[in-house]
């Protein structure tokens, strides 16, 4: 069996200590000029693309494979233009699946608060989950952008899982710079008419994430509490084995890259910032290709091994939301998010550099419908085996990973998630998601 491309590239790398001055390398890595983003990655170009029609979308047939030859007829019409540089490449293979209907869970929309509203800042007040707060988005509604986003933030399936993950950080030409393994565990507390743990009605969700590798990060874990009150910042703690104690973390700094990854905190799932820190515009609906209901955690392809290859794609109608950060020192001038019009999962996100309105970062998400596991065998994480048949019956989408690209470095972070749904009992959640659990770790 031949080596994978990533292994070959690991082996081929030259050691800078043998290859010239360390100082030169440090300087070149730290202060190298950003590569020239291609001219079609500007904000204006993407806006024009959004405004254009996609007349051939209905011609696609399930089972059809799109290759580079389909560039003009299909690919350029259905892949947002800012992503063409990465997603359309020689040897590409996109399998087209039937555009599916993915109903929400049976108990969704049944036991939820009704006395909620958007305040003058566009913030959802009085909502406690259990349904989409705004089942109908009207294009002429001046608050349509915020409403689509609130549906995205409260969609079903966001939490309640055990999720081992593997992340690859790659430079151009597929060079693997770092690989990480970690596990996320998360639970939704706010469930409409009740909280998962009675007495914790102010909590929206709690999550714990722990690194397994590399060894210099192994055992590091964080706990995050998000709140129903959107104005309240998350609470966070980090346990580091080297310190043997938890450390409180700040939540309101959301614009810096961390752990070498190519996304900022606000980029998670397309938009994870504060609604009131942005101006909002609804740009209408647009059909896009999306890795919805992928068969498996997709392999990565393209010239840099950054994007899904040989994966299953669907044409999905999406709400297109324009987000403009109010702060002058925010790195983005504009952020455009494509949110699925039925499931409210994010498919694509594009963020533009405040300095020149060109693409700075983007992400694209791989989703799988839980009921697909009735007929499809799940891919196991490399470090733990899980019974994915337990995902059946949830009727939700599972986040199987994403591609995050920093277009100006250029560099990408690719993640595979192995989601197994998990329903915590109130007692177990109370014990597990507690500060007590952060006082010690693997060591």
């Amino acid at each position: 069996m031949g080596k994978s491309k990533s292994e070959v590239i690991w082996g081929r790398r030259c050691h800078p200590f043998f290859n010239g001055s360390i100082l030169v390398i440090v300087l070149s890595q730290c202060f190298s000029a950003p590569s020239q983003a291609s001219s079609d990655q500007s904000y204006e170009t993407l806006r024009q693309w959004i405004s254009a029609d996609s007349p051939n979308a209905n011609e696609l047939t399930p089972g059809q494979h799109l290759t580079e030859k389909d560039r003009e007829k299909y690919l350029e019409q259905l892949i947002p233009q800012s992503a063409w540089e990465y997603y359309i490449f020689a040897g590409m293979d996109m399998e087209i699946g039937a555009t599916g209907h993915y109903p929400a869970p049976q108990n969704w929309n049944q036991k939820s608060a009704t006395d909620y509203q958007l305040d003058e800042q566009g913030v959802l007040v009085g909502f406690t989950g259990g349904k989409f707060p705004f089942p109908e988005i009207k294009p002429d509604d001046p608050e349509a952008a915020q409403k689509a986003t609130w549906n995205m933030l409260w969609r079903p399936g966001t939490d309640n899982y055990d999720m081992p993950m593997v992340t690859w950080l790659r430079s151009e030409n597929g060079q693997l710079d770092r690989q990480m393994e970690f596990v996320g565990v998360s639970a939704t507390y706010a469930r409409g008419d009740h909280s998962l743990v009675p007495g914790y009605e102010e909590v929206k969700s709690k999550s714990i994430m722990e690194f397994r590798s590399p060894r210099d990060m192994a055992g590091t874990k964080s706990m995050t509490i998000t709140y129903v009150d959107h104005y309240k910042e998350n609470s966070g703690w980090m346990y580091m084995p080297a310190q043997r104690k938890p450390r409180r973390t700040l939540s309101s700094e959301r614009t810096g890259e961390s752990m070498g990854m190519d996304m900022i905190k606000e980029d998670a799932l397309g938009f994870s910032g504060k609604v009131y820190e942005n101006n909002w515009t609804y740009l209408g609906k647009r059909s896009v290709l999306a890795t919805v209901n992928v068969r498996d955690n997709p392999e990565f392809g393209g010239p840099h091994l950054w994007v899904p290859h040989k994966a299953r794609w669907e044409v999905r109608e999406s709400h297109v939301v324009l987000i403009e950060p109010k702060a002058d020192n925010h790195p983005y001038s504009y952020r455009i998010v494509f949110i699925d019009a039925e499931t409210y999962w994010t498919h694509w996100m594009f963020a533009f550099d405040r300095e020149d309105d060109r693409l700075l970062r983007m992400n694209q998400h791989f989703l799988k419908y839980s009921e697909s596991y009735a007929t499809e065998v799940a891919q196991q994480a490399p470090f733990v085996k899980q019974d994915y048949s337990k995902n059946l019956g949830y009727n939700v989408f599972l986040h199987l990973g994403e591609t995050d690209i920093n277009a100006k470095k250029p560099h990408a972070t690719l993640t595979h998630c192995y989601v197994k749904k998990r329903n915590f009992s109130a007692a177990r959640a109370k014990q597990f998601y507690s500060l007590r659990n952060m006082t010690s770790g693997r060591r």
């Binding site: 690991w10 050691h15 200590f17 440090v26 890595q29 730290c30 950080l169 060079q175 710079d177 770092r178 690989q179 393994e181 007495g199 690194f211 397994r212 590798s213 590399p214 060894r215 210099d216 990060m217 192994a218 910042e233 609470s235 703690w237 084995p241 080297a242 310190q243 043997r244 104690k245 450390r247 409180r248 973390t249 700040l250 939540s251 309101s252 700094e253 810096g256 890259e257 961390s258 752990m259 070498g260 990854m261 020192n329 490399p382 470090f383 733990v384 085996k385 920093n406 470095k409 560099h411 177990r428 109370k430 014990q431 507690s434 500060l435 007590r436 006082t439 010690s440 693997r442 060591r443």
Partner: protein, 526 residues
């Protein structure tokens, strides 16, 4: 030879198991229930006292292996025995071997016993019996909010003999046999996320380890010469000094147990804890047994007792994530410790030293106020923030006397104005200040692809003695297995010659005894 071959074969088998047992790494699954992780590290330290001659003082090679065995999951032990409400249990073992090859490499260290260590540092069982969790075994427990200066973090003593406090404290804490239990409470009254934690060390007492033989590179010999006091001057007469040191450390008996508890919770947005710990001082006091002193023709025979007084530590910690105005995490730790040993000058009034043994215990208060802040310095880094962490320490003797003494020094013996060759005496002209301060500042960020270049800047500064310490460090994550690190440690002082209490530039930055050093680290991690 056969034994060595067996060891090599065993090591090969172990490494083979680690590398081929699983496609995963970092934490390696040997089986579904057994995980291993670890590293080997080579650390070379070159001391350049005044940036002139490099002097290799350490070549420490470390191998550490950590194993975790999940023998009880989902209330079933070893996959067959039901355990009722005991839901989970694991066994953790952390072993470490160190060999410092510099003692074999350098002729100047001939006659010194090389430093090495090989032991199971930590071994403990974790048990989860909601809402109760228990960790039993040899372990480290860290309380408090401070970094690198201790107030509440006193449960485990430190091994300062290798490299003073310049190693990660996880690696120099001396693990103790103890039980650590936590009862999770959750919401109670105005408090959230609350729990009560208790620690009991039945009979395992260890003191801080300090190397006092001045021939070792990181020996502690105060502000004097790197010599042993071998003489004493009585009147104008020089005598040999013969000191019998009697270590009166607590015996391994139940009555010499140590323990404490804390209540931790969130009140509003403030994460706080109330702490109490009843232990022994890890730093000994010295009782001079003058009643045992004898003066013969040319020698003073005397005895001192090393004693470890009982201590009571009462503490409050708090942190608050201020998200709006300062975007900082504010940390607070304050303690009052009763029972800290202190030296008293000879001949002090009976009111100060009623037993005339030049020893007493005092109470001290420590207040630490700290700030953590991810900070944008965009001219230096456009992509990532700098993590800035700063601390202000104030330590105060609650009962203070001008007769108290600090660290003694060794100086040449002088008779009639003339220095006597090879004869040294101990003097103590160091009077501690009632109030002591130190300020720390650290900044770190990352650069390059995947953030693999990690520079760090550290400063500690004592405003009273003007002693300071700097560390400039650069780490490079070469691959998932290899990490390079280079550090420059600088000890300096701004002015004067006052001796401070923190063992930084005032102590280790003196003239020809300056301990500036360059550290080269290479780590291979699984």
């Amino acid at each position: 030879m056969i034994r060595q071959q067996k060891q090599v074969a065993l090591a090969g088998l172990l490494l083979g198991t680690i590398f081929f047992a699983s496609s995963s790494w970092g934490i390696v699954n040997i089986t579904d229930d057994l995980e291993l992780e670890g590293f080997v590290n080579a650390k070379n330290v070159v001391r350049a006292t005044n940036f002139s001659n490099g002097d290799l003082i350490m070549q420490r090679n470390t191998a550490q292996l950590e194993g975790k065995y999940y023998f009880l999951r989902d209330s079933k032990a070893f996959g067959r025995f039901l355990t009722g409400r005991l839901e989970e249990a694991t066994l953790t073992v952390i072993g470490r071997s160190i060999y410092d090859s510099v003692y074999d490499l350098r002729d100047s260290y001939d006659g010194l016993e090389g430093k090495s260590e090989s032991k199971i540092r930590e071994v403990f069982v974790d048990m989860v019996l909601p809402p109760f969790t228990l960790r039993l075994g040899r372990q480290q427990v860290v309380w408090g909010e401070t970094d690198n200066f201790r107030a509440l973090d006193v449960i485990n003593p430190l091994d300062l003999s290798w490299h003073w406090s310049q190693e990660p404290w996880e690696d120099i804490r001396i693990p103790l046999w103890m039980a650590r239990g936590i009862v999770d409470i959750g919401k109670i009254g105005p408090f959230e996320e609350s729990f009560v934690e208790a620690v009991w060390v039945p009979n395992d007492f260890e003191s801080n380890l300090v190397e006092t033989d001045p021939r070792y590179p990181w020996a502690f010999y105060g502000a004097g010469l790197p010599e042993v006091a071998n003489s004493v001057i009585i009147g104008d007469q020089l005598y040999d000094l013969d000191v019998t040191v009697r270590d009166q450390r607590p015996r391994r008996e139940l009555e010499n147990g140590q323990g404490g508890f804390r209540f931790k919770a969130i009140w509003g947005d403030i994460d706080f804890s109330l702490n109490y710990y009843y232990g022994f001082s890890a730093t000994p006091g010295v009782k001079v047994r003058s009643e045992l002193a004898e003066l013969d023709i040319d020698t003073l025979h005397t005895a001192v007792d090393l004693v470890y007084p009982r201590t009571h530590v009462v503490g409050l910690t708090a942190n608050f994530s201020e998200e709006k105005y300062t975007q900082s995490v504010i940390r607070l730790e304050t303690t009052v410790t009763k029972g800290i040993p202190v030296a008293i000058e000879p001949g002090a009034p009976l009111g100060i030293d009623p037993e005339q043994d030049q020893f007493d215990t005092v109470s001290q208060m420590v207040v630490m106020l700290g700030l953590d802040r991810p900070t944008w310095i965009r001219p230096l880094n456009k992509l990532r923030t700098f993590f800035i962490s700063t601390q202000f320490f104030w330590r105060r003797y609650l009962d203070y006397s001008s007769h108290y003494q600090g660290v003694s020094s060794v100086v040449p013996a002088t008779i009639g104005g003339a220095t006597v060759r090879d004869r040294f005496v101990s003097v103590n002209n160091n009077t501690p200040d009632r109030d002591e301060f130190v300020i720390t500042f650290a900044a770190s960020t990352s650069y390059g692809r995947a953030g693999r270049w990690k520079p760090t800047f550290v400063l500690a500064y004592d405003p009273r003695s003007t002693g300071a310490f700097n560390r400039l460090s650069l780490e490079y994550l070469w691959s998932k297995h290899l990490i390079f690190n280079v550090q420059q440690n600088l000890y300096w002082r701004a002015s004067g010659d006052e001796q401070g209490p923190w063992s930084i530039g005032d102590m280790f930055g003196r003239g020809s005894h300056r301990r500036n050093e360059t550290v080269f680290n290479l780590t291979f991690q699984f």
